[in-house]
Point group: C2
Chain length 463, copies 2
Amino acid sequence: MSSLSEKLDKIFHPKSIAIIGASRTPGKVGYDFLKSLIDCGYKGKIYPINPASGEILNLKAYPSITDVPGKVDLAVIAVPAPIVPKVTKECAKKGVEGIIILSSGFSETGSEGKKREEEIVNILKGTGIRVIGPNCNGIYCHSSAVSFISSASVQLKYAESDPIAFISQSGSLCNLFRQMLLARGIKLDKFVSSGNEADLTATDYLEYFGNDPRIKIIAAYLECIRKGRKFLEQAKKISKKKPIIIWKAGRTKAGARAAFSHTAALSSSDTIYDAVFRQTGVIRAMGIDELVDFTVAFLRVPYPKGRNVAIISGPGGPAVAAADASEMAGLNVPELSKKTQNKLREFLPPFAGVRNPVDMTMQSIKNVEWYKIATDTVMRDENIDMVLIILPPPGRGLTECAKLMMEEKENYKKPIVFVCMAGKTEEGVKLLEKAGFSVFPTVERAAKALAVLVRYREYLESR
Amino acid sequence: MSSLSEKLDKIFHPKSIAIIGASRTPGKVGYDFLKSLIDCGYKGKIYPINPASGEILNLKAYPSITDVPGKVDLAVIAVPAPIVPKVTKECAKKGVEGIIILSSGFSETGSEGKKREEEIVNILKGTGIRVIGPNCNGIYCHSSAVSFISSASVQLKYAESDPIAFISQSGSLCNLFRQMLLARGIKLDKFVSSGNEADLTATDYLEYFGNDPRIKIIAAYLECIRKGRKFLEQAKKISKKKPIIIWKAGRTKAGARAAFSHTAALSSSDTIYDAVFRQTGVIRAMGIDELVDFTVAFLRVPYPKGRNVAIISGPGGPAVAAADASEMAGLNVPELSKKTQNKLREFLPPFAGVRNPVDMTMQSIKNVEWYKIATDTVMRDENIDMVLIILPPPGRGLTECAKLMMEEKENYKKPIVFVCMAGKTEEGVKLLEKAGFSVFPTVERAAKALAVLVRYREYLESR
């Protein structure tokens, strides 16, 4: 592990945290962050820092971080921007490992804020102390239970997380991404809200998560990339070991303007990013849905060996739509072998389609075992690399079908994805997700996710 | 109203229905359809037709439709395909208005089925009896409570429906579309599952819904268009009065093959459809999500006068993404006037963005009234035609913000759409939808929906 990675690992797993600007007034940021840290079950020492000292939320408060008796690994700053340089100096004096500056009012506001940001960087020069932010939402780490968002306590009840890390130049997206994964039964391991990136940048976090053996998938929301050359090198190196999925915003003129006033990000031309991502094997997501979908797919679906997908459906319209969506996404929907078609004919009604898609007709909702037999059958077709299955409607075979497929999971040697157009809250969907399958809400999203897996495998093989 | 429209209006509002193939065995199609009709509260006469006669679900059954004493408006056939010609002859003898053939096993299965389909058409030639299907899922009509799906009884408890009709060549999508609208608080008025279209085609239903004064928006899922020239004429005529939104599947080679084995649909080149749709003002949806989104937008959002959108957000990342999404969708995100920017500066913090997007920063979750004031302010900007608002996260101001915006609804003279990335089940989302606002799950989907409204208005003005 590089020294940077070791440093960041200490920041993500601190033995003690000081909250500078801790408040006893509910609703204030300095109160919420402290309370969340407690609620989420952080086990290390917590030191509220507040000029009035006394007690906050039953914890002894100190007027300055320099008054704290023990060692402080991580300082979290939530005071107004003009006071940040002063408390940063105190952090330097105390000798912490890292600082998270939550406060806004820096380079995103113009030249005065920019100067303030530079002042902070200068204060810490040579101290070895690294800074996350300013103008950010902090970090989240499942194993150390470091979280500044109360709602994360629900997720932290699970002992195990999934090996996914998220880097975001938008603070609000960090928690949204975590929650969207959780809604699909997946527990994010770490996120970092990188803010204005005065010191540590997305590239540094990429390096850290690249080196982190607990992380197998890296997702990111970026408005700009600040250390271009280093990013290129890191991305190239890491994407050979684990997929990097990036949603790059600020793609248009208006988006770039918005990005600048958001986090002082200077977006380059979108075509440059496209080229860089292609060269380095980075997977590009076009929005939050794709970011989540692709992450789900990488976590739960093995890489298909080729581009040939078999489609199995009860409903006929969605089967047609899935064929369209697969080809549009760059997959092939080859005609099944005569042998496979004959085997399907053995149990399906005469008006079923067996060429591919396998359109079992709506009679399949009364015969959900057809889903199982059809899946077995198409998987034996040598020409088929993966299977896309459109589930029966809720209340009309969905749960029964899900249960049958769950039991067979271990027997399926080729990648499978499911589509349930009725939504993710259905019992059948929950069952499949619990069994480790991935379920998508539309055929288009399922096909795109499969295509991304295929392209990443092809990228790996081309290296 | 044309004679075709009058005929279809009788079929959608029948005074009496015969279910041919009614069964007393739960789980059989002929049982389910009969039971659903009863459960959904259909008020007309129901005649179960079954060779064994006796009683089915407390209704007197008749061995043949010809044995029914009174008049029968609509015959629903759910017997195996080989028997369909025989019972069709009996329907002709009885003299019904229309027949729905649910049974599969016709042209979608090959030449033998095709012959059977032609036989049916020949039997009815000159009788004036029209056929929906075969190989279909029937119809749904809110005002007459004709429904063959039990789950629709939930929707039918509402007295009023929304003025939307759906034509679908996929039976399963009919109910899915109805349910997806209902999940967003919208009650579909009518659907027709057109199946193989042996007699009545999508073009005929288009004409009927075009003439139906209860219908203001027509949505459709099509795999092919069987009467091309007539479709063109109808679409051109109707789209001047009400929007027609079509999801055309069978776009790719694999999709076209699937469509053929699904409903014997012969898909033409996708570019032809693109051209036809553009010429006739038809709005094209690329999947079920767009079909639903565009329908929601047409129902709830007035047409923007131009292409200029103002974006208002608490979370910064989504604001950037919304700017991107708007420009990608063909909208403009112009810089707000200096006057507007100054007014925004009066209440927003110094590090907020005011040029457009209006990035109010996450401080807005503690000050949700900023949402209201910002919306008022940007609406007064002459250069702004519509507003896209990204709501606060759930539990962090979402509900409060929704309540505030609801109260102001009548004061907003320009179109507004909301984005809630946390999902449609949130209380705040439900409140906004109840107030008649439209809420989308991603910025991309909101921007695309707005762009579709703009393009349709431009189409109307260009005529």
